[in-house]
Amino acid sequence: MSETKRKKGKAVLVVGGGAAGIRASLDLAEMGHKVYLCDRKPSLGGVLVHTDRWFPDNHCGMCKMLPIFSRDDKSQFCLRSGLVHPNIELLPMTEFDSVTGEAGDFTVTVKSAPAGVNPELCVGCGTCNSVCPVEVPDEFNEGLSQRKAIYLRTPWLPSNSYVIDWAACTKCGECVAHCPTKAINLSPQGSSKKISVGSIILSTGIEQFNTEAASQYGHGRYPNVLTSIELERLLSQSGPTEGVMLRPSDKKVPQSVAFLQCVGSRDMKRNYCSFACCMYALKEAMLIKKLYPQVEVEIFYMDMRVFGKGYHRYYEQAKAAGIKFTRCRVPLVKQDFQNGDLIITTAGEDNSLKQRRFNMLVLSVGQVPSPLFQVLADPGGLGIKLNQHGFCQTGEFTPVETSTPGVFVCGSASGPKNITDSMIGASAAAGKASHYAISVEWPENGGPSNGAGTDFEIDAPAKTAVLLCDCGNQISSIIDMEDLLDASRALPSVVYAERAPYLCMEDALASIRPKMDHHGANRVVLASCAPFLTRRLGASIDLDPSLIQVVNLREEVAWPNQENPVAATDKARALISMAVERLRLQQPAVMLHIAMNQSALVVGSGLAAMVAARTISDFGYEVHIVSREPELGGRARNIRTTLSGSDVPAFLEDLRRTLANNPDIHQYKGVEIATVEGHAGNFHVILTSTVADPSGKDLATSSLEVGSIVLAMGADELRPTEYLYGQNDKVITQTELEARLNTGDLGDVKSVAMVQCVGSRDEDRPYCGRICCAEALLNALRIKEANPHAEVVIFYRDMMSYGLMEADYKRAREKGVLFVRYDPERKPEVKAEGGKLRVTVRETALPRNDGNIVMEPDLLVLSVPLVPRDQTALAAILGLELTEDGFFKEAEVKFRPVDCVRDGIFICGLAHSPRGMAESITQAQAAGQRAASIMAKGRLMSGRTVSEVKARWCAGCQMCVDICPYNARVMDESEGVVMVLEALCQGCGTCVVSCPSGAAGLRGLSDKQIMSMVDAAL
């Protein structure tokens, strides 16, 4: 649809504030759209806030998805503490109710649960919590600990005020009586409001499988049977045991732990795989092993689905770490009532049944569709179509679109996903939704919420106001406020100091600036609390943020020192004088920006490249597609159909035509990238032709100026060296089989054998090909379709029919395709004898006499992985790194899966990792969105805290250039000194430390400031 004809609304609504919802909201907000982000719960983060560490390196990295929209320390903090973005309006405890209108012009009614605690008045003191007489299981800790009926949803106070659990509340009124700010109302009304939006993103996530439906595992009855999320809580420092793994029955560290996979997935009722459980079980198992090396950990599984980037390596690490793996679906769990141990029946080495005993059992519970979908599917409402499993229906080529125009979907709402794929889908959905909403004006100062630009003469001597908050008596009952006032007044640059009972209340906030003006103050220290910093400060004080310092008197001084008022007062005094010193030496915040080239470069010729190019050009930017190949289409040209029966040639043709007919899309074929200079916003790219000019002259070169780069190069199918490939013409690859199926010249084959994992998941290529199992299933089904009597046997290691593909696996079995597992230690043996192939496979699943299956197939089909082309040269040109397997490294595996560490470069498709078609398309849309997004503002803004160079002292040694993780420092060859590209600098300050001559500094927190803070502290 053309941009001009499309209706556009004022904002976008994102339903569901889990990781995907946050990502989509941030992406939209960064493109300049107003976003409403609603969630049923009082806090954001979905299932992620229950977990501390993630695969592959047991890290937390949620904050890495935050854009650097206003890089000063007052708007940046741990995402668990809350999300602040000037363009995002949070609607907590709010549900989608009904909708009218159409794409570009929806009116959505959202319903907010009755808020017993007014967030505007709640100061988070916790008095209510301490007087509340009701105790109920705490859902944050999965019921492993207790909480009150008035409580904090997560321990990260800054994000939320207290909320009331109406189901538990007895309305005794204790909290109302004690609340110092009269914030509580025990009979509030829920409210509903209408918001008008142009598009809607559903990121409603999933529900955790309810284990009551699998009572054979005894969860809920046997205390030592836990779900995987419960285990997360046990392993978390913010959990009920402070991170010590104590089993619930006797609070002892269990010596043996078993994981049961696929609980609530891959069964008769839920004919899909939950996608993420294998990896999170591996991660949890590894965590246990790391914390308690002596504990025996065993995982009982059906297939280890280690299909993603780096997953197989992780699996190998887990094996090396001593985690045991047993392939067996455990039917039943019993408890030894004497000691709480669990007894399970499993298959032993020799396939006999064996009873095994474990101290603790963990169920890897699956994902089930959110019940909200039933509401959303209502034809009177959004009317979105659901698939057979109850997830939102999407198309292979339209992976983030629902059946209702203007309504998009991401995360697990359209089928189980992991974090990485949810992030990818979120960016793609944001891109799509963005077309239906107008951009709001991007503020001149780069868009932080705080006040206007600086309106003081920054060079004028510092005149600081110190405002002390009593916080009712939370602070003043411990700290001697009068003493603090006197001490503050005595500080050199302080012009006035004052106490307030509550600094965060509307009227107190409103009076800050007028009073400052009255006293001629030009900086202010607010000695109050942590939520003040993260929640209230934003919109309230009309002052440049670099002129404000918040001292966290409550959480940092008063609360941890309740028994020690004298020391607390001492400490408070020191902290205030440190803050005053810091402000006294504050340098002006200069927000610099880089002009952007409003065009993008897409490298590659395959499907991902084409989709990325179209996505970017949909935003109206010029695109240059550069590829070595003479033609667009890549591997997709050989694909006729997919497991869901999509018409690939038609899609490809349409894509090709769209690209060819768009005058803003330029194609350069048979060329290569010679050099890339510059940085996000301004890349200078030189191309060389890969074909020599016929006139015998030098290779033709041309150059491009672009703002962002998308890498979408393809990969090639491995040429196998095993199983007589190349020696016997009955041995072919899946792609070759597909070609024969497409042309219909398969011939009269009565029996086909397929071998999976040929050349993958081994020493040479320790990664899973991800798509080969799908290919095998597809081809097997096509053979069966053509000739139902043909015998098809698939020899596999683990069937990677992850997610909704599980249904196809089942379909193949129903159609009579045989699946026989082989052990990688004993690969199938293939011999050619008298014109016949003979395949011998050691059977592992069932005890047999000789244990061997012998087959004489007419065709042996090898499932080989895609191998990345050698990208070492290109990676060096771009200044990027490759993974050990030769794929491009992303900035962060989970939270920034399409970004590169070097700003302005994005990756998708096979350049990133092997992916299925729908997955590649989603990723290409995501990369396209991200690439377009940085161009949307027209310029790249710098933050307030950025590094700088004192040119006089710079010796040009370039230590800082090497150490900067963001390529924000470059050598200015003409001057012989280093200069800073402020828009790329994230203000981490590591360059400052590396500089041997003191030329590097951090504006906003200089050496001088630190030193004088140190002095003030002592």
């Binding site: 990260w156 402070e242 942590a530 400490k571 981490c988 590591t990």
Partner: protein, 145 residues
């Protein structure tokens, strides 16, 4: 400082806390009412990797009894690898201090993640107790001469 002889020595420790993890943990520790010693005066820096060894030396020379640098757990650094860089720097700094005959165990480096408030409190206890044992920083006085 007017330390009463019969009063227990209360050290002053300068803390450089990374904004993303350790500072978040400190907030949660406070709001969970965990009680921990008051001796650390925290300076919030964006990343542990921005803590110049000079800042540490300055604190010690100015009379701080100890210095604690705390940041995200290895791999968690918001700026990719600031904490790893810091680890190396502090290791070097400690050897230098030892070479100069100064007490390297006045300098502490710890990783405290955003959800590790108990560890935050434990770290405060641990560091304060250790510095108490070392007694007042002699450099502070020497410098004052």
């Amino acid at each position: 400082m007017s330390d009463n002889d019969n009063k227990e020595f209360e050290p002053t420790i300068i803390g450089y806390f990374c904004n993303w993890c350790t500072y978040a943990a400190a907030d949660v520790a406070g709001s969970s009412r965990l009680q921990y010693p008051h001796n650390v005066r925290a300076i919030r820096v964006m990343c542990s990797g921005s803590v110049d060894p000079l800042y540490v030396l300055r604190a010690l020379f100015s009379g701080a009894d100890g210095v604690l640098i705390a940041g995200c757990r290895p791999g968690d650094c918001h700026y990719i690898s600031g904490n790893y860089k810091e680890r190396r720097r502090i290791l070097v700094l400690k050897t230098i201090l030892e070479t100069l005959g100064m007490e390297s165990d006045r300098v502490w480096l710890r990783w405290v993640g955003a959800s590790e408030s108990p560890k935050f409190a434990a770290t405060m206890n641990e560091v304060t107790a250790a510095i108490k044992k070392l007694g007042p920083n002699p450099i502070g006085n020497a410098w004052a001469i």
